[in-house]
């Protein structure tokens, strides 16, 4: 069974007639007959949480935007997927653009938004081309515009492309980018539900999160929640890469144990040393923790994070401290520089990790990395600085400095 990847491999993903013949837009029709309050109730029952990394409950966002009073509200599709090791949103935008447009339209109806923006990562030319073609086709067919499905619903979507900045995937940074500025984050609160794009109430969701909406509206929140395992609700896309037999995007129940997911991808090539789970803002998982269910609460209890769903498999030929150094340099490069803890912290972290990785240093680097990580987590204004220390701290915790505790 695949839910989110059901339209992968269509001859022409921008063929609206084929989409409708396969049941497309029946979720929007059902949404219009349900009404806004009932849609949000289904969403709440589904247990759907954000799939971009923060795992925030979707229904709370929808309810917040719906209740906010404003002359204009927005729905924003966050397709600025840039977390290293993540390629699920690209796959969805390339393979199934109409589902995302339908989901945005349902969301616009439920929260009372009149305009939408689809923001696609600048490196994803094919995804942007497909989404743009699908938006144009939907507009021609009256599925975007002044009177959608003859129901008096007015909503349209503008496509925007990023231009190469990891931090712009942060929600408030993405707003700044659409508004014509540098993609730098703002302090929160106020949150986007009341002060988002152009200062108006805004519902912003990761691509994968929105892709879940039409099936939830069609089949109900309880049905969707039941697709999960080990107490988790729904399904998740996982991006398997590195030392696995068959890298790719895999759909699996949320809550599936990590070991079972690796089996889906044909197993590990070589002898497993660690899994980098959640991307650069993720954590190194040692083999003893492979039985952990992949759900946000279970992972949090184990000191790990699901993040965006990146699953990078590393066998015992890999120098994990070199990987940590690469990630530390990545954060130092991608820090936008707006807030001090992140701007300076990511640079100092890269220096400390370099010293440890080279086997030199003063010996107190682990303690200083922990202190630095705590300050960055507390004082950085956005998720970049708040999570930039996670991989190196998880490496220290589970594997220790080079030469200690290696498999």
């Amino acid at each position: 069974m695949t839910l989110l990847l059901r339209r992968l491999g269509q001859a022409d993903p921008t063929d609206l007639a084929a989409y409708r013949a396969a049941g497309g837009y029946s979720a929007l029709s059902r949404a219009l007959s349900l009404g806004a309050a009932a849609i949000i109730a289904e969403l709440e029952q589904s247990g759907l949480c954000g799939r971009g990394g923060a795992a925030f409950p979707a229904a709370i966002k929808w309810d917040g935007v719906r209740r906010a009073a404003a002359d204009q509200k927005y729905v924003v599709l966050n397709g600025d997927e840039s977390e290293p090791g993540t390629f699920k949103d690209r796959t969805l935008m390339e393979a199934d653009p109409f589902t995302l447009i339908e989901a945005m339209t349902i969301a616009a109806y439920a929260v009372g938004a009149g305009r939408g923006y689809a923001y696609v990562r600048g490196e994803y030319a094919l995804a942007a081309e497909r989404l743009g073609a699908a938006i144009a086709a939907a507009r021609r067919a009256g599925l975007l515009g002044e009177d959608i499905l003859g129901a008096g619903l007015a909503f349209d979507i503008e496509l925007r492309q990023g231009a190469g900045a990891y931090v712009s995937g942060e929600e408030t940074a993405l707003f700044a980018s659409i508004e014509g500025g540098r993609g730098e984050p703002r302090t929160k609160p106020p949150f986007p539900t009341t002060h988002g794009l152009f200062g108006r109430p805004t519902l912003i969701h990761n691509v994968e999160t929105l892709a879940n909406v039409p099936p939830i509206v069609l089949h109900g929140g309880a049905w969707y929640a039941g697709l999960g395992r080990n107490g988790a609700a729904g399904v998740k896309l996982f991006c398997l890469s590195g030392h696995v037999a068959r890298p790719g995007v895999y759909e699996a129940p949320l809550g599936i144990p990590l070991a079972e997911l690796l089996d889906h991808a044909g197993g590990v090539t070589g002898r497993l040393q660690a899994v980098l789970l959640g991307g650069a803002a993720g954590a190194f998982v040692p083999p003893p923790l492979l039985a952990t269910p992949l759900s946000p609460p279970a992972l949090q209890a184990a000191g790990l994070t699901l993040g965006s769903g990146a699953v990078m498999v590393l066998n015992d030929t890999v120098d994990l401290w070199q990987v940590a150094l690469q990630l530390a340099r990545f954060f130092a490069h991608e820090s936008c520089g707006k807030c001090v803890p992140c701007r300076l912290g990511t640079a100092r972290q890269a220096e400390l990790v370099a010293a440890v990785a080279a086997g030199g240093g003063r010996g107190d680097e682990p303690v200083r990395l922990q202190e630095l990580g705590a300050v960055m987590a507390d004082a950085s204004i956005c998720g970049l600085g708040q999570t930039a220390s996670w991989p190196v701290l998880s490496l220290l915790r589970h594997f220790g400095p080079p030469g200690e505790g290696r498999v």
């Binding site: 490196e123 014509g180 030392h243």
Partner: protein, 178 residues
């Protein structure tokens, strides 16, 4: 008495007729221009003119009323915008974790440096290619990957390079497998 006027900042070189024509044609896509059009506008101009050199940005500002400082703030922030004076095709090699495993990205970078005779960060003497490395480009399932003039290609092996560079438009961006 009175202050001496500070010397005027050096003006950017005037845009060439070709640069002006590229900007003019890109601006036709924008019936109205507000600040929130800045990024799509710069992207359209870069696509038409090949780069956002100072003369080009100054001419955009003159045509639109958007401040040079605000436009240049974007050019300097976003990695995919370039103010390089030459309009070379960008080769962006992913050197992130998945592509770097087993030395694959490093081998690709080495092969490209040898083939093009330039180092990372440089542009070939004929102005055809600029070589840079990039963090993850979301193609880890087809590692090692690269972007050539905006198209995502992978897996790319050193032996594929001569054909790819001979005809940069030939490699087709493909759907994810399965």
């Amino acid at each position: 008495m009175g202050k001496q006027n500070r010397p005027r900042a050096q003006r950017p070189p005037a845009a060439t007729p070709a640069q002006r024509a590229a900007v003019d044609s890109a601006l036709e896509q924008f019936p109205t221009i507000a600040r929130h059009h800045s990024l799509p506008l710069l992207q359209a101009v870069q696509a038409a003119a090949g780069s956002l050199a100072p003369a080009v940005v100054a001419y955009i500002s003159r045509r639109t009323g958007l401040a040079v400082a605000d436009l240049y703030a974007l050019v300097s922030f976003y990695d995919l915008l370039t103010d390089s004076p030459r309009a070379a095709a960008q080769l962006r090699i992913c050197t992130d974790v998945a592509c770097a495993l087993d030395g694959r990205a490093a081998a690709l970078v080495r092969a490209l440096q040898e083939h093009l005779g330039i180092a990372v960060g440089q542009t070939t003497a004929d102005g055809r290619f600029a070589l840079v490395t990039t963090p993850c480009i979301g193609c880890c399932d087809r590692a090692p990957a690269l972007l050539l003039s905006g198209r995502l290609l992978g897996p790319v092996h050193p032996e594929d390079l001569p054909a790819l560079l001979h005809d940069p438009g030939a490699g087709r961006e493909e759907d994810a497998p399965r």
